[in-house]
């Protein structure tokens, strides 16, 4: 069972890292698009006519895609007033309960995006912007990011329960 937990953990870690890397690429692309738009507007009296739309999708996608990795690195914002005072075993128990509670809204929102993406795909809904982006694309990205976060939470719970040596997710920052 410990072996299973460790394997799940490795898969979650790999997927999380890849998806965070994609988020970083999106961040760079969005920044370049904004710079290009500034240049076009101010020097060439022109525009890409798509900056609001693409930057909107980009900000949403990069936030959600980076979530699983952020959680893993312990860099989600958390209140440590109680957690910091617990010794190892009760702290692990609290972590399991908290992760389970987090899993509920993440699954619900993820499910909503899966259903919405499926509907947009079926009905061919597009955005009302110049590019007429098929809506299932951004929705599927959001759904993937949320399901990955859910998978990371499940893996975390499994590791804490099955593997006594599994670490608690805390950030490297030592200021707290």
């Amino acid at each position: 069972m410990t072996g299973l937990a460790r394997m799940l953990d490795r898969i979650a870690g790999l997927l999380g890292t890849v998806s965070a890397a994609v988020a970083a690429v999106i961040l760079a692309a969005v920044t370049c698009h904004i710079l290009l738009e500034i240049l076009l507007r101010n020097l060439f009296n022109s525009s890409t006519h798509a900056v609001d739309e693409l930057v909107g999708y980009g900000v949403g996608a990069m936030t959600i895609l980076a979530m699983a990795h952020t959680l893993r690195r312990g860099e989600m914002i958390r209140v440590h007033i109680l957690l910091a005072r617990l010794s190892n075993t009760p702290r692990r128990a609290v972590e399991v309960v908290v992760a389970l509670l987090t899993l509920i809204p993440v699954m619900l929102i993820g499910r909503a995006f899966v259903l919405s993406a499926a509907r947009s795909w079926r009905e061919g809904s597009v955005s009302t912007g110049l590019l007429e982006v098929p809506l299932w694309i951004p929705e599927a990205i959001f759904a993937f990011g949320l399901l990955l976060l859910a998978f990371q939470l499940v893996t975390y719970i499994a590791c804490l329960i099955l593997d006594a040596s599994a670490p608690i997710f805390v950030s490297d920052v030592t200021t707290e």
Binding site: R41, N42, N45, S46, S47, H49, D52, S116, R119, E123, S125, V126, S127, T128, G129, L130, E132, L135
Partner: protein, 342 residues
């Protein structure tokens, strides 16, 4: 002192909320058990033309149904839904009914783009004719999404705010004009202007920094942001006559008794008539205020200017026809027959 004032003010908020809840709970007890309570979502503010219309509509529904149907209108997007969310929210039964800017549904149902197609209707009367012709198509599109059309509310006509009166296509050349949708952007690009899609709240900062020198919006929109500090001409070219559409979920509507359904339908007919009348008065009030700020309202244009604009709208109209096919062609033909021109 101000710090103390702040800390004192904070606990008041939950207290007021609690009181309001008590008041609501207390007020609801005498209402009969079979009464229907509907929450209606809309993005426009309560003091806007469609906002005031919706409040009056809710009052009419209550009156005609003898208080059996209570509609609470949530203006200004207070429920957290945007115009474009309404189609799915009502369809999924999350909301019983909603009022929405028709064009925002066009990604799912292209027919709703009709009301914001440039230079199809030239006056409010023609806009009403266009709506009447298109109504069956709107109803069919809403039915595909499990909804029943209740009524439409027009916005004041869209025109061009600029630093001078526009009399020819040459006046548009290089003009840095703000547009609000793809149609406008495509069309003004074809006319040789430099269109920029800018959200309404960003318009004034962009005007003051010289990034824009004209704005595509209604006289009403310009009045609300005091455009006269930058732009002294409203060119009332009748660019488009956007519509709000109020629709109710089929399930919610069919759960009503036949008498209740009739009261909702009757109130809808009244609301439609009232809003289409109100827009004329509203526009007259706007023009009076613009005149008091020395804004010139340009109302007549040379026919060859209209011809140039008409030519520039062709790709946009063709694009719409490609998406709507036979049905779109039929609407435009019937409209052309009624107003006597293409």
């Amino acid at each position: 002192m101000h710090i103390r004032g702040y800390s004192l003010a904070r606990p008041v908020v939950p207290a007021v909320a609690a009181l309001a809840l008590l008041a609501v709970a207390g007020g609801s007890t005498p209402v009969a058990a079979q009464s229907v309570r509907w929450d209606m979502s809309m993005e426009d503010r309560s003091n806007s033309l469609p906002g005031e219309g919706a409040t009056a509509f809710a009052n009419d529904v209550a009156k005609l149904s003898n208080g059996e149907i209570v509609i609470t209108v949530h203006h200004a997007g207070a429920l957290g839904f945007k115009n474009k969310d309404h189609l799915n929210a009502v369809r999924d039964g999350v909301l019983p009914l909603a009022q929405s800017l028709a064009g925002t549904f066009s990604g799912q149902e292209p027919v709703f783009l009709l009301s914001s197609l440039p230079f199809v209707a030239r006056s409010l009367e023609e806009a009403k004719t266009l709506y009447d012709v298109a109504r069956p198509a709107y109803e069919a599109a809403l039915a595909r999404n499990g909804q029943v059309l209740l009524y439409s509310s027009p916005f004041p006509p869209t025109g061009i705010w600029a630093k001078k009166s526009l009399t020819s296509a040459a006046d548009l050349s290089g003009l840095k004009i703000r547009t609000f949708d793809v149609n406008g952007t495509m069309m003004f690009k074809d006319l040789g202007a430099a269109p920029l899609q800018v959200s309404f709240s960003d318009v004034v900062p962009q005007l003051s920094t010289g990034n824009l020198d004209a704005v595509l919006t209604s006289a009403d929109g310009g009045r609300s942001l005091k455009f006269w500090e930058f732009l002294q001409y409203f060119n009332n070219v009748g660019y488009a006559f956007p519509l709000n559409i109020t629709a109710v979920g089929k399930d919610a509507f069919e759960a009503l008794t036949p008498a209740q359904q009739k009261s909702v339908k009757d109130a809808s007919a009244m609301a439609e008539e009232r809003d289409w009348k109100a827009v004329t008065n509203w526009e007259a009030k706007n023009f009076a205020e613009l005149a008091s700020h020395k804004v010139e309202i340009v109302a007549t244009f040379p026919e060859d200017f209209f011809e140039a604009l008409g030519k520039a709208r062709e790709p946009v109209v063709k694009d719409w026809l490609d998406k709507t096919g036979e049905m779109g062609r039929k609407i435009l033909d019937e409209f052309a027959a009624k107003v006597g021109r293409q």
